[in-house]
Subunit: 512 residues, 2 copies
Amino acid sequence: MKKTNFLIKTAETDNVAIVTSIEGIQEGSMLEDALISKEFIPMGHKIALNELPKNSPIIRYGQIIGYAAQHIQPGEWVHEGKMSLPRPPELKDIPFSSKLTAETPPLEGYTFQGYRNPDGSVGTKNVLGISTSVQCVAGLTQYVVKKIKEELLPSYPNVDDVVALNHTYGCGVAIDAPAAMVPIKTIQNIAANPNFGGEVMVIGLGCEKLRPERIMEPHPKKQPEKSSILYMQDPAFQGFQQMVDASLELAKQHLQRLNERKRETCPASELVVGMQCGGSDAFSGLTANPAAGFAADLIVRAGGRVMFSEVTEVRDAIHLLVPRASDASVAQALIDEMKWYDDYLLHGEADRSANTTPGNKKGGLSTIVEKALGSIAKSGTSPIVDVLSPGEKIRKKGLSFAATPAGDFVCGTLQLAAGMNVHLFMTGRGTPYGLSMVPVIKISSNTSLSQRWFDLIDLDAGQIASGDKTVEEMGWELFHLILEVASGRKKVAADVLGIHNDLVLFNPGPLT
Amino acid sequence: MKKTNFLIKTAETDNVAIVTSIEGIQEGSMLEDALISKEFIPMGHKIALNELPKNSPIIRYGQIIGYAAQHIQPGEWVHEGKMSLPRPPELKDIPFSSKLTAETPPLEGYTFQGYRNPDGSVGTKNVLGISTSVQCVAGLTQYVVKKIKEELLPSYPNVDDVVALNHTYGCGVAIDAPAAMVPIKTIQNIAANPNFGGEVMVIGLGCEKLRPERIMEPHPKKQPEKSSILYMQDPAFQGFQQMVDASLELAKQHLQRLNERKRETCPASELVVGMQCGGSDAFSGLTANPAAGFAADLIVRAGGRVMFSEVTEVRDAIHLLVPRASDASVAQALIDEMKWYDDYLLHGEADRSANTTPGNKKGGLSTIVEKALGSIAKSGTSPIVDVLSPGEKIRKKGLSFAATPAGDFVCGTLQLAAGMNVHLFMTGRGTPYGLSMVPVIKISSNTSLSQRWFDLIDLDAGQIASGDKTVEEMGWELFHLILEVASGRKKVAADVLGIHNDLVLFNPGPLT
C-alpha cells in the first residue's frame, strides 16, 4: 500500500488513488508525482493518476472496477457518473486451480473464558433464549421477557440476559415450498447457538404451520422435554395471565440450569467468528476489512472458525475467491451459491448492482465491483474450507463462506444460525448495529466516524489510513479485543447502551 | 341456516353439516332425519348427511368444497383425508355480469367521537408515530420511545401513545426492482394513517437506500419540515446521547401539536374499517364472519368505508365476488389481483392450498375452498366498489377489496397503510393479535374460545351457533361496539393488556 499525506494507492497497477484527508483535496492541490487535482475531491473518493481514455479500464486493488464513460484527465475526480459497470465474472468461465497460500504456522497459547456446552460448542454469553414458532405469540413473549428481567433474572446472577427470538415466519407462508427450508433451518439453528447453552424454551400458539416441536428437531441431544414448549392455545389456560404464569414457571427451570454454567479457560480454537460489513465507504477496503482479514487469519491459525458472507458483495470478486477454495467441491459450492443468487435477483428484475447504497456512493464506493474488492479483504488469506447455504450451521475449522444476502440484519441472523459466538461488524458511514444474543464488535473504517460516534464504535481502524498503525498491528489489536469480549471482560458498545436489533429471516419463498 | 341441537347446515343443497356441540358427537348418536353418526366427530367438523359416492361433490354453503376421495356413508366424519381439492375457478372463465343486490336504505344518525385531521380523515386514537427508513435505527427508536413514554408523555395528557413504526425494509433490498413499490408505498401510507394526525416524525440513518424524505413524499400537505427528519449520521451528533436528546426535542414539537387534538362528534361515515380473520375454524364462516359481514353492510349503509382482504382466502370464491363488483373495471381489477397472486405463488412452487394451517384443519376446515367460502362471509352483501393493490390507500366510500397476503401481520400492516381507523379480527382457534396504532376488536367464532380467553377476546360470536343470538343481532352489537371503540370509550382487550405485534411488510422483491 503506497501512501502519501493525501492519497492511498493499493496496488502498483492502480490508475486511481483514494483521498484520505477529512477535508478532501482542494482544486489545484499539488500532489505526488507532479499530479495536480483538477477539482475538489471529497474524502474517500478517487482521483485519476493517469490519463484514462474513454472505455479504458479503471483499476483499483489491481482489478478493473469499471470503465471510463468519458475521457478522464489526471487529477480529475473519478466518480460513479464517469464510470460504467463491468459485467460480473462469468461463473462458467472460472476454472478451479487451487492457488493456496503457503501454510502458516499454527498459533498457540491464546485462550478466552467461555461457557462449555454439552455438545462441545462454547458460548461467550449466558443467555436464556425464548424461541417462537410464529409472530402471533410476540405480544406474550415480549410481556414475559420484561417480567423475567424484572422479577426473575436478579435471582440468577450467572445468567446475562433473556432474549425473545421473535421473527415473522411460522404462518401465512407456503411452508412446504422448496425455499421454506431456509427460514426453517435458520430458526432451528439459532436455537442451537452456543450462547443459549442448549436451554432454549419455545413459545408457540397452537394452530400455526411451523410446529413448535420442529424448532428442536435437528438437535436431538438438546431437545427439551415436551414440557419445554408452551402453547398459548393449550386448553388448560384460562386467560392471558395463566399463560404468563406458566411461561415464568418454565423460564425458572431453564434459568436454574443456565445459572450453573461457569466460564472456564478455552483455547482460541473454540471461537466462531462471523464477519460482515455495513454502511461501507472507500476506506473499508483499506482499513477495517483488511484488519479484520488479518485477525481472521490469526483465528484460523489458532484453529478457530471464521465466516464471511454477503453474496452480492463477493460476486464481482468471485474469480479471486475460487482459487482459494480448499478443493474442487468447495470451489463448485462457491460458484453454485453465486448462481443461485444471480437467478434469485434476475427473477426480481434486479441484479447485483442494486447492492450499492447512496451512502456507499457518498463514501466513495462508485460501483459494486469496487465495493466487492474491499469487502473480500475481510476474508484474509486463508483457504476457504467450506461453503454454507443460508441457514446452515458451520461445520469446519478454518475459513468458511456463509452464503447470505448482504443486508446487515439478514446476514447477522444467518450467521447467528451458523453458530457464531463473536460478531465483527465493519462500518464506514456508521450504523448502530447490535445483537442481544452475541457480542458485536463494531470497527470503524475511518477515524472521523469513531471520534464522532465515540460511544457506538469499539475499534478505530482509521488509524491505518492515518499511518498511525499498520494493518498487522490493527489485526493483532482486534484479535486481542475478540478474546477480551469473548471472555466477558470487555463489554461492546451496543451492549453498554443496550441497543439491539431484531432478527430478520431470509425467506425466499412466497407468503400465502 | 338450519340448526338442530348438534348440527348446522348452511344451505338447502348442502350434503354435509357442522357439529356444534363442544364435546363433539359420539358414535351412534341419533340426529335429525334419522341420521346416525357412524363415528366420533369433533366440534366444528363435518358429518355426511347423504350417501356420497366416490368423486361426487361435497357441498357446503351451497358450493362445492371438494370431492369425495372414497365412498362416504351418511353419518360418517367428512375430513380432509376423505376429500380431494377442486381446481380453483378459472379466472378467464368468470364473466362479469353485475348481480348487485337491491339498494339498501342509508343508515343515518350514528356517530362516534373522533379526531378530525386537516386532510379530512378522522382518527380514533391520538398517537405519535415515529417512522423509520431502515431497521438500522431500530435500536435508537426503541430507546427513544421508552424515554418519551416515561419522561414526556405524562405532560401531554391528550396523546394516547407513542409508537415506533419499525420495519425490516429500507436497505439491503433491490430498491428499484418493480416489486419494491409495494413496501415503499406501505411505509409511506402508514405514516398517513389518520391516527397519527399528520404528525409523524422520521428517524433515518443517512446512508440507506430508502431516503427518509421519501416517506413523506406522497403527502405534500402533511410533509413535515426538513427538521422533522432526524439522521443518525448527521455530522452534528457527537455520540448516541446527542441523537437521543435531539429525538426527544423533535418529539416534543409533535407532542405539543398532537396534544391540541380533541375528539369531536363525527358521523359513522368517517369509519374506515379493516377486516381480517386469523386462526379460523369451521365456525368462522357461520358466526364471526357473517356477523362482521352484517356490520360491514351497516357501515356501508352509514356511508363509511370497509375493506376485506387476503387473496388466497377469496381465490376459491372469486366467482361469487366478481358479480358483486360495481362495474366492469372493478371486476377486472379483482381478477387481476388473483392472477398476480397465482403467478407469485407459482414462482415459489406453491399454490393457494398452502394457505390452510394445521389449526384450520383441526378446527374442521378441510380445504382452502371451505375456508374461502367462510372467509368471504365477512364481506357482507354490499357491492365491491374498488380494489386496492398491496400498499395502496383506500379511495372510495363503501366496500373495497384490499389485495393482501392472508398472513395476519402482513394483512394488518397493509390495511393500516390503506388507512383503517378500526380493525376487526375474527378468530376461531384464538390468536392474541393486537396493534398499537389502531384498535383491534377481536371476535371469537365459538363460545368455548371466548370463555377460555376471556381477557383476550372482545366479542363472542359463538352465541350465534348456540342459537342465543342471530347473525343480525350480533352484527348490530358489533356495529355499536365499533362506535364505542372508535370513540375511545371502550378499550379493546389487546390495549388493556398492552400486547401488540410489530409491522410486517410485504416485500415481493428481492433482497440484495
